[in-house]
Symmetry: C2
Subunit: 476 residues, 2 copies
């Protein structure tokens, strides 16, 4: 219990319990706490969120955090007699709803999309169709090697070597996307009941997997600019029996953070020293706006890393092809692939492999990086216009940034309000397992061009935020 | 502990322990035990296998079962100083090896296949290519509904209704094949530590899943002709807290058994009475040689059944598209699909849906059923020619039959011997978690035409069997 935010939580709580601040008192502002204690905004908000979750303080619109009368009582739920819309009952429901709407990285649900199919997808589909036409033999009659098409694994290994890894085709298992890769990675190195550390805020799919696999989660605070702090990891390792650490060193969702090289090196050293398995979510790494990407953890601690990735963020969400690379776990990974889904679709693998080998994927990536940079900049302009009072960092890659609304704003309520108008958001609480955390935060994606309807949706979101503030908090 | 085979095991053991049979004595023959005790061959072999596994008796070539000197000692492994080939260490390794060779349903590994691509696969591939060409919008930019393409789910529900179910699209979740469907089904209705009953002998993929999910397995004897006996299930339910029963009522692997209607009705009643969840592996059901297929368990006990299937056995192993239908579990299934792999490949789904809706799938099935019947008959002829001394049943559908070699034959040794000559078999021990069971059994598939090389492989297998018998038993 000795992360910075935890120390701050305890210090503030101490002051409340000793009567320094009493019921109705306003706590120092976030800015004051940051300056006075030399802490990051993330740390301060983390601590205040914790206190709010425990019922000690309450955020008030446009004012700040106020101490609650004690004993803090759980509010009694009074079901409305006329519930117009079905209510979302849990974060899992929100995730399911967002997925169902095809809106994980958009303000608009899938049915209202209007972007055209880019030439690269045309080329990819042609390559897959060619693979289908050229199949002469009885390929449909037998299952692919569970580990995946050897040629594609070779191509993937080649790409990883270009990023500084020593990967071979034999180290790689092809999966049905990155989520499936994370499943295999987690199962290959943990047993139910093990402690797994994750980034906070972090990817909701990882949290769901941990719950599903009966693993204990330890959330480590993640700076929106630089990601995990190795000192926090080191401290956690002395306190808890951590088996694995799931992290996204490059352009993590939801923050877009990029771990600097020194932090990566320090983490690699920790992994070796403590025999800690790093599960590296690499899915956004090829979406870097800088010309010199940082080496993945797999390059720095190969024996202790399971790198998970897919083509869903960089090429097509619909391809359902990912991979996991972990030289120390290969046999177990292939076995888990076979047990969970037997094999992959070879024709898709062949088409993708041809697409990559012809250089079409790299050409597509360069265009995609440019488009994303343009779209990020357009989002920054829109934020300056509509959300100038809200804090965020400027990510140098990936698909999203992390918007801090005023502490009292409840983005779960905003989610429900926006949804009624056909606008989809991914509210902060989706990215943590700790109740009450990140309630005022929002992931915003720049995965799509800022066409008229998306601009309007963002402008409208501002109006909804203001409306919520006037109307006060509402519960999920 | 009161199945017929268990009672026989105990009775025989009792006789041995009381000295009625002593070290070196020969037990009554399988045929004698069958006639004397009015038991099926499967039951007697099950019991003798159990005694052999426990070290009480030993099978001797062409003679029978002999009582071992006591105390039965585990043989000391003496590693050979010159091991020419790597040894297979476990059943999991055999499964992996078979999968790697693409030989799950063939005597020949994938690389030596010569069958041409049938017209139906050509049509299917064209339909998928059409789906790719006709994608105009930004489909690649968002994830499919985790439950799968609504149109395809509608088509699948329609097919299930034709089989007597009341399914709707909303009851169905599309998966990456039947193995993935079984994973979701098991996870949706069990917790680690629960007892799950399965058929014995039964599908190895189910056994692997149970182990992976931390579930306890209870193997119920499965008659090669009629499958599970509801009386055995009823008895087991009074003795153990069984959460789910995984079964393949139509043309189970490895036996090809078909559960009669009365047994299905009795099982449906048991499921309702005991709130037992039936996980129905439906993957071979459309490969029936009879004109009137029996209703699936989903039609008879809809609230207690999770039907799992795919197109891998009936159309293409490479498609990687399956589904699970369970009206009582739909929400949980969709959530598990999302957690384990996010979504499916919509273009494949669209192509398959068009293929089914145009009637191409049904035309293909009719041709396939005819071909399989011809291939089964050819296998029966070949067995009469080469294995006339071995017992088997004649399945009325599916892809395989279950060959009983002489009790002393070790098919794991045969597996290794055959593999050296490029012949792949699926030995009996792959289909049970109980050590020593089905060592003398073999699954033979008629999924492929009996072309010259496959005929030669089967003839050669006979020679290898005889060689093994002369050479005595060899350990895996």
């Amino acid at each position: 219990m000795a992360f910075r935010y935890q120390r701050l939580t305890r210090a503030l709580l101490d002051d409340i319990q000793k009567g320094r601040w009493q019921a109705g008192d306003m706590l120092p502002s976030v800015r004051q706490l940051m300056q006075r204690l030399q802490l990051s905004r993330a740390t301060v908000l983390h601590a205040l969120g914790e206190l709010e979750a425990q019922g000690w303080v309450e955020a008030q619109p446009r004012r700040g955090y106020f101490v609650n009368p004690r004993p803090a009582k759980a509010p009694t739920a009074t079901p409305s007699s006329l519930e117009a819309a079905p209510r979302l009952l849990s974060i899992d429901d929100v995730v399911h709803d967002v997925m169902l709407k095809g809106a994980a990285f958009d303000l608009l649900p899938a049915e209202s999309r209007f972007d055209a199919k880019p030439p690269a997808i045309e080329l990819l589909h042609r390559a897959i169709s060619r693979a289908m036409r050229h199949t002469k033999g009885a390929q449909h009659q037998h299952y692919e090697d569970p580990a995946g098409l050897p040629e594609l694994r070779d191509t993937l290994a080649h790409r990883l070597r270009q990023q500084g890894c020593t990967s071979q085709a034999a180290d790689i298992v092809v999966t049905h996307g990155c989520q499936h890769a994370l499943l295999l990675a987690l199962k290959s190195c943990t047993q139910p009941g093990d402690v797994v550390a994750v980034e906070s805020p972090g990817y909701f799919g990882t949290l769901q997997l941990l719950q599903e696999l009966g693993l204990k989660v330890l959330e480590l605070p993640c700076d929106p600019a630089t990601g995990l702090n190795p000192a926090d990891v080191a401290k956690a390792l002395t306190q808890w029996p951590i088996t694995a650490l799931v992290l996204t060193p490059s352009f993590a969702t939801p923050t877009g953070a990029l771990m600097p090289l020194e932090a990566r090196l320090a983490l690699a050293a920790l992994a070796k020293q403590h025999r800690l398995t790093l599960i590296e979510d690499h899915i956004y790494a090829e979406l870097s706006f800088s010309s010199a990407p940082l080496p993945p953890m797999l390059a720095l601690a190969p024996e202790h890393t399971l790198l998970c990735s897919s083509f869903s963020k960089s090429l097509s969400r619909d391809l359902r092809l990912g991979y996991v690379a972990g030289p120390a776990f290969t046999k177990r990974l292939a076995q888990l692939k076979q047990i969970t889904s037997l094999a992959s679709n070879r024709l898709i693998e062949q088409g993708l492999d041809e697409f990559i080998r012809r250089g079409d994927y790299d050409r597509h990536l360069r265009r995609e990086q440019q488009s994303l940079r343009v779209q990020r900049n357009a989002l920054l302009d829109l934020l300056a216009q509509h959300f100038s009072d809200c804090h965020h960092r400027v990510p140098d890659g990936g698909l999203c940034l992390w918007l801090n609304l005023e502490p009292e704003l409840d983005t779960l309520a905003l989610y429900q309000r926006a949804r009624q108008e056909g606008i989809m958001i991914t509210p902060g609480p989706m990215f943590t397992s700790q109740q009450g955390l990140y309630r005022h935060c929002l992931r915003l994606s720049f995965a799509h061009p800022w066409s008229g309807p998306r601009r309007q949706a963002l402008a409208r979101l501002r109006v909804l935020v203001d409306g919520l503030k006037r109307g006060g908090k509402s519960e999920i």
